[in-house]
Structures are given as structure tokens and as C-alpha cells.
């Protein structure tokens, strides 16, 4: 009984969870050595063995043997949603990336099965731990990446994003197929949104008094997805979640809740930085106006 307990404690000590420290301690050299040990201690089918040898040779001559697992994971990252093993920058030769991914695959299938059959589950796990550490480092990067993309979707569609009216819902539904509006090939949200709204809350100063002006706005909203953008407080004012730009149309008379197309409409443009909007319309009654982005009546304006 005591003998079995001691054996169990030794196995537990050897099979170390892939903590951050464990990842940092593992290099490509360790991965190659682990697979070489697995190869010599188990009976692999001849074609599998030949395949493994070829891939290990590529890795040995890669010039990356001293890369730690996290650095290796970063250097051999494959672009999001890509179906093939090729890095985005091309700095690591494709044959090295392919070899690394193939070695990982063999570790998780034929090599693991053969080593478990030749030794035990625990021993196989111990020998192949460096490859698991590399895989763990890749997972950490992939998790960070998914979190980044979800933050982007939250920026554009979450509770703090601009609300859409009915016309904007239809326009954005129609245009989502175009680049920049719908998700890109990496499944990241497009930064653009179509604006077609009526804003009755612009304020100007004319004739010695403050006045309300109603505008129709047609344009685009551009979301900023960077980590330093879209926060709260002063930072959120300087680096807001979005900006807008487009054509502004006002009626010939000032006033709130005026139909912009009534009479001789005044044309101009608007721009916003976050929620603060500035617009100008030309004509005999030219006006420079300010407002703030919000919906008075949901789905309407």
C-alpha cells in the first residue's frame, strides 16, 4: 500500500501542470528531445516514424531551438480563420510552421498511442509534457485573441454603442455584405455603420439668441477598436468609441422638430467625435451647430 502511494506521489510530481512558469521553461529543443525519446521508446509504424524524423530534422535546423514555448507560439501564429498553416508575416519559413504543427498532431495521435501502449498513460504524459506546454502557450494566445475580438463586437454592438433607428437597421442589414461593414475574413467586425437619422436637438446662436435646429444626417460612423479607445471619462472624450461624418440637411427655418426638407433646404455637413457633434449648413441662413449623440425616441430618432 505504502509502495503504491509513493509511486503515485512520484508520478504526480513528474506530471506537472502546464503553468506559465512551466511554459517559459520549455524550449523547441525540449520539444524535439521529447518527441525523439517517445520515438525511441515506442514502436511507431514505419511511415509514421519516417514522417516524424523528417519533421524533427526541419525543426532542428530551424534556428529556433532556444525559443521558449510562448515565443514559439507567437512566432508561428497562424492568421485567424486561415485554413492553412502559414504565418501572416512569413518571417518563419512555412516548412518550419508545418513541421511544428505536424509534430503536434503526431504527439496527439500516433505517438501518444504508441508510447502509452509501450509504457503507461502517466509516463507518456510525462515524456510528452514539453509539447503540451507548447500547445498550452498556443491556447493562451488563442484565448487572448478571442477575447480581443469579442471586445471589438462589444464596442460596436454592446450597451455603450450608438443605437440604430428603423431605417438604419434596414440599411445596415443590406450593406453588411460589403467590406468594412460586416465581419472580415478573420471574423472581426467591420468598423463602419451607415447613418440615416433625424436629429432635432442641434443648438446654434443666431439673431442674438440660442436656437434649436433640426437636421437630417446621412453618413458613416467609424468605430475605433484599439484598446486605448472607447473608455470613460476624459480618456473617452479624447479617444472615443467612434466618430461620424456625413451630409446634413436642414429646413430653411430654424426650430426643433422641423421637417428638414421643408421649403428651401439648407445643405452642409456634420462630424462627430464620440458623442459630441458639430454641423454646418450653408445658405442665406448659414448655421454652425452643436449637439450630442442620443436617441430621444427609440428606433425613431
Amino acid at each position: 500500500m505504502a509502495h503504491r502511494l509513493i509511486h503515485l506521489l512520484i508520478v504526480v510530481a513528474l506530471v506537472q501542470p502546464a503553468t506559465a512558469a512551466a511554459q517559459e521553461a520549455v524550449t523547441l529543443r525540449d520539444i524535439v528531445a521529447a518527441m525523439e525519446e517517445a520515438r525511441t521508446r515506442s514502436k511507431l509504424a514505419r511511415e509514421i516514424d519516417a514522417e516524424l524524423v523528417a519533421h524533427l530534422d526541419v525543426l532542428r535546423t530551424s534556428g529556433m531551438l532556444d525559443h521558449t514555448a510562448p515565443a514559439l507560439a507567437e512566432a508561428t501564429r497562424i492568421p485567424r480563420m486561415s485554413a492553412i498553416a502559414r504565418t501572416a508575416s512569413g518571417t518563419v519559413p512555412q516548412k518550419v510552421v508545418v513541421a511544428l504543427y505536424e509534430v503536434k498532431g503526431l504527439r496527439n495521435n500516433e505517438v501518444r498511442d504508441a508510447l502509452e501502449a509501450a509504457t503507461s498513460v502517466e509516463e507518456a504524459r510525462r515524456v510528452l509534457a514539453p509539447v503540451t506546454a507548447f500547445q498550452s502557450a498556443q491556447l493562451d494566445l488563442s484565448i487572448e485573441d478571442s477575447e480581443r475580438v469579442l471586445r471589438m463586437y462589444e464596442r460596436k454592438f454592446g450597451p455603450a454603442s450608438a443605437r440604430l433607428n428603423g431605417i438604419e437597421v434596414l440599411l445596415n442589414y443590406t450593406i453588411q455584405r460589403l467590406p468594412g461593414f460586416g465581419p472580415n475574413a478573420a471574423s472581426e467586425p467591420g468598423p463602419l455603420e451607415v447613418i440615416a437619422s433625424y436629429s432635432p436637438t442641434y443648438v446654434t446662436y443666431a439673431g442674438g439668441e440660442p436656437r434649436m435646429v433640426s437636421l437630417s444626417e446621412f453618413g458613416l460612423r467609424h468605430y475605433f477598436f484599439g484598446d486605448r479607445w472607447g473608455g470613460s471619462g476624459l480618456g473617452g472624450v479624447i479617444r472615443p468609441a467612434y466618430m461620424t461624418l456625413g451630409l446634413a440637411v436642414a429646413s430653411e427655418d430654424d426650430g426643433a422638430l422641423r421637417w428638414p426638407w421643408r421649403g428651401e433646404a439648407r445643405l452642409g455637413g456634420f462630424v462627430s467625435w464620440g458623442q459630441v457633434k458639430v454641423a454646418y449648413v450653408a445658405g442665406d441662413n448659414q448655421r454652425l451647430m452643436v449637439s450630442r449623440q442620443f436617441q430621444i425616441v427609440p428606433w425613431a430618432f
Binding site: Y101, L139, Y153, F157, Q176, P298
Partner: protein, 317 residues
């Protein structure tokens, strides 16, 4: 809202809900039912719950869907003002609308699901279990089955997600779909055509029909799941049955799946005329109202309860 757990052993379960708002307390009854099915072995499992309804709520609130429905209802139903009902309808309608009509909603929910799968595998590694040795089961219900199908196809074919069945060794012991609407959504996609943007992005609408997800390498397919189960009931329209009859245009039938169809009756415990007569007789003799309970044929709890034995067998294999 990604869950992370310490694993007590080598096994984990991910529960994926369907239509409706699922918050942290909404899985309680289901978790209890699954644990009851597993009995003493329940303590070997880390149980995860996927939360993605917050994403559907983003789209619902950004487009003010509830307000749209409220205004439409007032327009067409003599001005009845019931914002709570409209909110509920918007909740359920939106859950179905977004994955079909919005590319961004589809992508966002898929990303949240992939993130949870990655975290599960990562937790397993932290517990000392390499991915190829992890025994993970997914149990999904209703629309959750559709998302499971989509996500596993993405995971199997995109190496950047580090969830491929051969290369990364991530093979699920079981994928158990309860009332899957995958074929139903495929058929809706075919009918609506261009109304659904970029339909080719959906695995459910792919040319060649529905297929089990897997990774093709050197001409050999490694499937994402060792055991793929699809179960529905004879009265469950979401699973492709209408009043005891299978509708081939709506029934999810994927080559290689284990198919189970539960006999169902609308009245609980009453499967024949004789049963009904007995209930009515005993209520008469006791001078009490007859107790007739309507069974919800789509109930997730119902599927789990009816298949306790199989769940124990599959999950502990």
C-alpha cells in the same frame, strides 16, 4: 462570461442552452438533472455552462427590436400596450433572427462559444490532462445545437483556434444534441435565399449537405466527436417531428450520428385511451378534478430525464 473550473478528474461537460435568456441561475435544474443521471460519478466532472444570450441582447437593444414589435403590435392589435410581452417576444424572436440575418451576431456568438471551448481545454491542461486525454462532452438543446454544429465545424477546420481534432487532439467524447433544428435552419436558408447574407458562411447551409465536423488530413478524416447523438421527440417540431410524423425537410439526419426519437404524448403519463379512461374514472370515484398535466415536448429537462441511463453510459465510457 466565460466559465473556468478546477477539474476534479479527466472529464468535463459543457451545457449549451437554446432560445431564451439564460443567466447564471437558469441552468440549475438542468445541472441537477445531469448530476442525478451521473449519480456518484458526478463528482468526476467539471460542469460548464455556455452563456451567449448577452450577445443576442446587444443586437436586440441596439436595434430596439422590442420597441419595433411593440409599435407593430399596437398598430395591428387595437393599440394594446403591453411592453413586457413585446420584450419577451423580442427576446425569443431575436434569438432566432440574429444568427440568420446578422453576420455580426453569428460571428460574435461563435467567438464566445469558441472562447469557452478554449478555456475548458486550458483548464484541463492546468489540471495536468493533455488535450488528447481530456474527456469532454457537449450537451446542447434546441438553437444551442445549431451553434454547436457551426462552432465545431469552425474549430475543426481553422488551426488558429487550436481546437482541431487531429492536430490539437481535441476530440469530444460525446456531442449530444437534444431537439436540433439544424436541418430546419438549413431549409429556412434555402427558402429565404439571398435574404440571408453570406449564407455560405454557415456550415448548416454548406453545399453537400449536413456532415459531421472533422479535420481532413492526408485523405483521412478525424471526426471532432467520438460519439455524435441526435435526439428528438415525436411531438417536438424543433427536432423535425409534427404530431408523431417525421418531416424530412426539418429532421436533422447526419450520416454517422446516433439517432434517437422519443415516443411522446401531450398529456403526462397518458399514452393510450385506456390511461385516460383510468384517470377520469379515479377522479370521479374520488370526487376530485382529474389531474391532467401537459408535457412540454421540447423541454430540455425532459430529454435529460428520459435518457439518464444512456447519459451515464456515454459520459462515463
Amino acid at each position: 462570461m466565460t466559465m473556468t473550473h478546477d477539474w476534479p478528474g479527466e472529464r468535463a461537460i459543457l451545457l449549451v442552452h437554446g432560445i431564451g435568456d439564460a443567466g447564471p441561475d437558469d441552468y440549475t435544474d438542468l445541472v441537477d438533472a445531469v448530476e442525478k443521471a451521473l449519480g456518484a460519478r458526478a463528482q468526476e466532472f467539471a460542469i460548464y455552462e455556455l452563456y451567449y444570450n448577452f450577445i443576442n441582447n446587444w443586437f436586440k437593444d441596439k436595434t430596439a427590436l422590442a420597441t419595433q414589435l411593440q409599435q407593430a403590435r399596437m398598430l395591428f392589435s387595437s393599440g394594446v400596450n403591453d411592453p413586457e410581452l413585446s420584450e419577451t417576444i423580442a427576446e425569443y424572436a431575436g434569438d432566432v433572427l440574429w444568427p440568420v440575418l446578422s453576420r455580426s451576431a453569428r460571428a460574435a456568438v461563435r467567438e464566445a462559444y469558441l472562447l469557452q471551448l478554449k478555456q475548458i481545454v486550458r483548464d484541463g491542461i492546468s489540471a495536468g490532462i493533455d488535450p488528447a486525454s481530456q474527456k469532454i462532452t457537449i450537451i446542447a438543446h434546441s438553437l444551442g445545437c445549431f451553434y454547436t454544429y457551426e462552432v465545431l465545424h469552425t474549430a475543426a477546420t481553422r488551426p488558429s483556434h487550436t481546437l482541431q481534432p487531429y492536430t490539437d487532439g481535441v476530440r469530444f467524447d460525446n456531442v449530444i444534441l437534444m431537439a436540433p433544428p439544424i436541418q430546419l435552419i438549413r431549409r429556412v436558408g434555402e427558402t429565404l435565399g439571398a435574404v440571408i447574407p453570406n449564407r455560405n458562411e454557415l456550415a448548416a447551409c454548406a453545399e453537400g449537405g449536413l456532415q459531421l465536423p472533422g479535420q481532413l488530413r492526408k485523405g483521412k478524416m478525424t471526426l471532432s466527436a467520438r460519439n455524435w447523438v441526435s435526439m428528438t421527440g415525436e411531438l417536438d417540431p424543433v427536432g423535425g417531428y409534427f404530431f408523431h410524423r417525421r418531416a424530412s425537410w426539418a429532421y436533422t439526419d447526419i450520416a454517422g450520428q446516433v439517432s434517437i426519437v422519443d415516443p411522446q404524448s401531450l398529456l403526462a403519463g397518458i399514452t393510450s385511451k385506456a390511461d385516460l379512461v383510468n384517470v377520469l374514472r379515479s377522479s370521479l370515484s374520488e370526487k376530485k378534478k382529474p389531474v391532467l398535466t401537459i408535457d412540454n415536448p421540447h423541454s430540455w429537462l425532459g430529454y435529460v430525464t428520459r435518457h439518464e441511463q444512456e447519459l451515464l453510459q456515454w459520459l462515463t465510457a
